[in-house]
């Protein structure tokens, strides 16, 4: 009896683990392209997170279409790789399978990549957000990329400052570091440069995935008088839901978040990775496997402000936003003073 029980428990767990892996690591079931480019990406959240991971996935899909579809470029992905050791295993796996370009889409994967990349000198790796290609460690097959998130943050902050009636703006970030912090600081600078007497309240939840606490953070901001809200990470869906229910406006980042709440999302900063992906691919084809770092900026077209057509943004705010984009591009405006 005891043995049977043990076996049954084991079987139950294996079924459970199988099901959860089905959902977590779905390699795109494309036919192997004979001579085409093979690209794989490992992402911390899902391809439909309306944020960081989706921006990269959609960028890769665009490239795939441009190159002539699945026959010319094979695309595989592993999503929900919050767990770094799992992600490292996936990265090594893709490299072993002979993928040409393996992308580690998360700054937390850096140290793993540093160990993996030297073992596969023929493979190109890319990771972000960071600017470190590990060249100093003698590694020459890693590209690095980063978004100048503060630029879009500054522009959206300008719009928020001009649309706010209460003069109070609430920002809910995940962790006080990296891409999120750049965005939060830029947004704050944009508000204060436009309306120096405005109040900008900033909270961090300490998590990229705590939807419930992110919702509570939005509630807190609204209770503190904020009528314009923003935030970063895939957990902001919780905050967007609250903004919609309590009639506050939301500004999105990383991806166009309008579809999450068409009555609340004013505008989003969208990451367009296609330019840098194109350059990585053509570099590789020219024999350069890594050693280049890229940034997404307004100037190089990597950052785009996407307005929600359903919400009327005052002309004054739109032109101030355009002026801010212009100023950031020509260097006269510093989004992180």
């Amino acid at each position: 009896m005891k043995k049977n029980i043990f076996r049954l428990t084991l079987i139950t767990i294996m079924i459970a683990a199988f099901l959860s892996s089905c959902a977590q690591a779905t390699p795109a079931a494309t036919d192997e392209a004979a001579d085409g480019l093979r690209v794989a990406v490992v992402m911390p959240s899902t391809i439909n997170d309306a944020a960081f991971s989706q921006s990269m996935y959609e960028g890769l899909k665009t490239i795939q279409t441009e190159m002539g579809g699945e026959d010319s470029m094979e695309l595989a992905y592993s999503e929900n790789m919050f767990n770094v050791p799992d992600a490292a295993a996936a990265l090594r796996d893709y490299a072993t399978q002979g993928y040409d370009l393996v992308i580690a889409h998360g700054s937390q994967y850096g140290t793993s990549l540093q160990q993996i990349a030297p073992d596969f000198p023929e493979t190109s790796f890319a990771w972000g957000t960071s600017l470190n290609t590990f060249q100093a460690d003698g590694i020459n097959n890693v590209f690095a990329y980063q978004a100048e998130a503060q630029e879009g943050g500054y522009v959206l902050g300008t719009i928020a400052a001009l649309m706010s009636e209460s003069g109070i703006i609430g920002i809910s970030g995940p962790v006080e570091a990296g891409d999120a912090k750049l965005y939060v600081d830029g947004f704050q600078a944009g508000v204060l440069a436009t309306k120096p007497d405005a109040t900008v309240n900033v909270t961090y939840t300490g998590s990229f995935s705590d939807v419930s606490l992110m919702a509570a953070a939005a509630e807190t901001h609204i209770a503190a008088g904020a009528d314009m809200l923003t935030g970063s990470s895939q957990s902001v869906v919780g905050a967007i839901g609250i903004a919609k229910d309590q009639n506050a406006f939301w500004f999105g980042t990383q991806w166009d978040q309008t579809s999450l709440a068409p009555t609340a999302v004013v505008a989003s900063q969208v990451y367009d990775w296609t330019g840098i992906l194109d350059d990585m691919i053509s570099s590789r084809q020219a024999g350069v496997l890594g050693n280049k770092s890229y940034t997404l900026t307004f100037k190089n077209g990597g950052l785009i402000i996407q307005y929600n057509e359903a919400i009327e943004v005052p002309e004054e705010a739109k032109s101030a936003a355009d002026a801010a984009i212009q100023g950031i591009s020509d260097g006269t405006v510093n989004p992180l003073p």
Binding site: I13, C22, A23, S212, V237
Partner: protein
């Protein structure tokens, strides 16, 4: 510091804390019921996710929020029943099989989400209901008596569960099954049936806990949206000493401090955000360490029951 002790801030903490505590209350009271009868169910997290998914999906498709609650409760019952089969009939190790159930719920809800929705959508969830007279009390009326129906339900559950456990014959049988199942069995009461009922009810409440997130509080479904809440609910049962009122105080303490730490950040109290975020956990551990009452643990907790063996 003084800017924290203003009326709007205190009322804000009260309001957010009550909302944050809601899913914990459903899940932890359901878990307390199962544990009181002697079964540790670590599958709460997975059941919550399945409840959140099915509640949201049905509410979105039918436009009827109550059907959503019903679906979440039904799915919770089924998964609770599954846990009962595994832990009571098959007598599997409860901790491990519970974690298996959590992984199962996480995987299945993510898979179903991808197949049926693909992207995050939001719906219009349960609207707040202002309770007449009580809702008009100055200041606190709006904070305490202007919530949606699932929030009220969670708080009503506390006295109901207390009454069932302490004042009914069924409650007596449940407690006895968790303390001394052999004695209960010798009196001709079926321990297996008692445990089946408590685990299934616990599953149902965990399902509703998930739905309270997806169709009453946040009003959307995202993969893994419970983010460990199910495990905190299990911890709250220990914290509360297996009494619904204890669970309530634990859930409120944790939620109020979580609401407080957000206000600490908003009010620019000079405390690093990383420390602020840790506050609820630190405080909960301190209170747990100071108020630990080991005597209360059901004697037969996590021990499978076999007739005739002692």
């Amino acid at each position: 510091m003084s800017e924290l002790f203003t009326l709007p801030v205190l009322l804000g903490i009260l309001y957010s804390g009550i909302r944050l505590a809601t899913p914990y209350l459903y899940a932890a009271i359901g878990e307390a019921l199962a544990q009181t009868s002697g079964v540790l169910n670590l599958g709460v997290e997975g059941i919550m996710l399945m409840g959140a998914y099915s509640g949201f999906y049905v509410a979105m498709k039918t436009g009827n929020l109550w059907l959503g609650v019903l679906a979440a409760a039904a799915v919770g019952c089924i998964l609770g029943l599954l846990m009962a089969v595994i832990s009571v009939t098959l007598q599997a190790e409860q901790g491990i099989s519970g974690i298996g159930l959590t992984l199962f719920g996480l995987g299945l809800s993510s898979l179903l989400f991808k197949e049926t929705m693909g992207t995050v959508n939001s719906i219009s969830g349960f609207q707040p209901i202002r309770i007449p007279l009580l809702g008009d009390i100055p200041y606190i009326g709006n904070v305490l008596f202007n919530h949606n129906i699932l929030v009220y339900g969670a708080f009503i559950l506390v006295p109901v569960a207390t009454w069932v456990l302490n004042k009914t014959t069924f409650g007596l049988k449940v407690r006895a099954a968790g303390q001394n199942p052999q004695a209960v069995d010798s009196l001709g009461i079926n321990v297996v049936i008692i445990r089946y009922i408590t685990i299934t009810l616990g599953g149902m409440l965990a399902g509703i806990a998930g739905a309270s997130l997806s169709i009453a509080l946040i009003n959307l479904f995202q993969e893994n949206m419970t983010n460990g809440m199910g495990f905190i609910a299990v911890a709250l049962v220990y914290f509360g000493g297996w009494r619904p009122v204890g669970v309530l105080s634990g859930a409120l303490l944790f939620s109020f401090v979580n609401a407080l730490q957000l206000w600490i950040q908003v009010k620019r109290i000079p405390l690093p955000s990383d420390i602020a975020v840790m506050l609820p956990y630190i405080l909960t551990i301190i209170v747990l360490a100071l108020a630990m009452r080991r005597t209360q643990q059901p004697a037969a907790l996590a021990k499978p029951f076999t007739r005739g063996e002692s």
